[in-house]
Symmetry: none
DNA sequence: AATGAATGAGTGTTCATTCAT
DNA sequence: GATGAATGAACACTCATTCAT
């Protein structure tokens, strides 16, 4: 009747769990400090204080300060990615303009989810802090868009899909982010409509 | 026998001149340090050393460190503005697509003039350091574009010129800057052509 | 029917053995770390890592960091002692100069056995770390030399054997160690010869 | 009647003086801390506190901690050198044994001047902290001794003056230092006498 | 106006030691 | 016994700013 022991890697779970929990706690503390005090004031001591641990304990989980801040940004950007992946995959079968509109809507939703942090990343952090992450994401999405432009029927009327993709990815990213951060006096549906028109006119000028 | 005193504002001129010269010297030193050592290493002591004055003297001309860096950025952005104004004013009489093309060309030339500094601003500085300046410029140019969209004959086929202007300004700014900074594998004339197509298709879909 | 208990000191043996084995393991780890990373970098964490145990476990066997390092040095110096004892006991019947020469040879051999560690002790460690051990050894050997000077026939022509012994012990120790560490441009047999001459002339000026 | 201005380099003296005075103050503080708290406890903060200045001010005069400690040692060793130079130059015309005796006397006097610091250097500091200084001095004095052995009439009966000098320098240095530090139960004149005999018997065995 | 020495709170990081498990 | 996460005081060093000269 003895319960069989779980395999070793499962038995070690609680330890890993505690460790992972602490990592999460530190990342959350880092995020809180960044949001509350700003990038320049975000010191390891403040992060430790916020996390309720001692400065030395940070270094059980992260090799240095930069890695903590990177982890904060990575977590945010992973959340954003996850949200976007969900959004996109649901609409890939829509006709062009609808797909664009739905994507923009989902993107604006995702970006609006945590405007404070988006503002932090967009305004307080030097881009070099998250350049790699950003460029990797732009590359990945650019490839998707490029592929999409080639496979759709009828194909988009663009000469070089990669070039158009390069442009589209950056333009959509920047304009949506700026729309959320600047909150200009443009109603959201108007904005989505204009951006959709811009994109559709570009990739399918005949329509 | 007393020589008549010159009016106050004239008497203070030489003083102002010397002061202005020193301000310029400090700004140049600040720029040199930023370019040479990067944002994180740009300390007031280094700026003073580079300017050939003592650290204390900085504070005769600037209230604090941030104001020095702001002045450096302002000067750069003023230079950029001046160059752009010249570029634009020369082509305002061209038909739409030519105007766009010429503007983009001029913009790319201006941005390429000092890529190092552009990279510094675009990658190392937190945007908050130059947010006001950037938004002021975007506002100013946005108004110009908005006006242009309304006055040209036949008028652009956009529903709300301010909205289109908001979009166009940010899109052109961001894409040209990123093109210069990322140097993607897209030939420059191809890039200008695509961007021109994008813009023309947007503001003049019938064409 | 109870098996008779073995006497206490026997029962604790295995325990002591395990304990002693662990002590040895820690000392070896300490030595390895000292040699690999140097005195300044030799932290308890590194020693524990090298020994394959946890930092906390060190304190089951040693009261603090210093005692670990002391033990490392003690073990080295005990090894050295053992080697020397062997060397000396084999030559005590030789006539004066031969005895000196043979002793110096043995000493140089022993010191050359582990030059790296000798250098560590001689150059990186503050002498206070091993002062007691060194002085105890000097005292012990000094007594031997002092006795030797008195009992040999004819007796050495020194006025106060303890004084001469004090001098001889320190001079031989220091010069041989420095010879090994500095590797001056003096051939070894030349060095041994000179040192022998120095000593013999001192204790037996008539010869 | 106007006094002529002194040349620029003189006018700047007071500044240099103040600077030099501060350097001296820091070195003295460093020495005091080393003597009071020991090498391991000698932190920059303690030195600053002892000097009555702020931690940051140390770095106006020294590039890092090590350079402060090095300066402390250098000052001590320079004082020692100066004292020795005086001692030696007064006796170079004495006949061999008298010269040796006078030199040893002067050396013991010099070393006794600041026993506390000698103990610090000899027992608490890792030799690597002052290895360069020590070896330079040994080289310099060794050359002197080597020359002396060759030029005296009748010449010393040594085969290779440099080898003998190497031995003599280290032996005298070590034994005198150890005599002062250990204070063995050997009266000073007895010690000087023995050492003199040792040396004379070595370099002039016939006498 | 100009200096530049002085400041001192602050930084990121280390590590001998403890103690709940 | 053994663990290893947690500690927290301490470290060397920086730098924007001040102020007596």
């Amino acid at each position: 009747m003895a319960r069989p022991r779980p395999p070793a890697d499962l038995r070690r779970k609680p330890q890993q769990d505690r460790s992972r929990a602490m990592v999460e706690r530190i990342i959350s503390a880092g995020q809180a400090v960044l949001l509350r005090d700003g990038y320049e004031k975000a010191s390891t001591n403040r992060v430790a204080l916020e996390a309720g641990i001692s400065p030395g304990s940070l270094y059980q989980y992260f090799p240095d300060k930069e890695s903590i801040l990177t982890a904060v940004i990575d977590r945010y950007s992973d959340e954003l990615s996850a949200r976007l992946t969900g959004v996109l995959s649901g609409h890939l079968d829509l006709p062009g303009p609808e797909l664009v509109r739905a994507t923009l809507d989902g993107l604006l939703d995702a970006l609006s989810e945590n405007v404070e942090f988006l503002r932090l990343v967009g305004e307080q952090l030097p881009r070099s802090q998250f350049k790699d992450k950003a460029e990797a994401m732009e590359q990945r999405i650019g490839d998707l868009v490029s592929t999409y432009l080639m496979v759709q029927r009828p194909p988009a009327r663009v000469q070089e899909p990669p070039t158009s993709a390069w442009i589209l990815v950056r333009l959509v990213e920047h304009l949506t982010v700026q729309y959320v951060l600047e909150s200009p006096a443009i109603p959201r549906d108007r904005f989505v409509e204009e951006l959709t028109r811009l994109i559709v006119a570009y990739v399918d000028p005949g329509a």
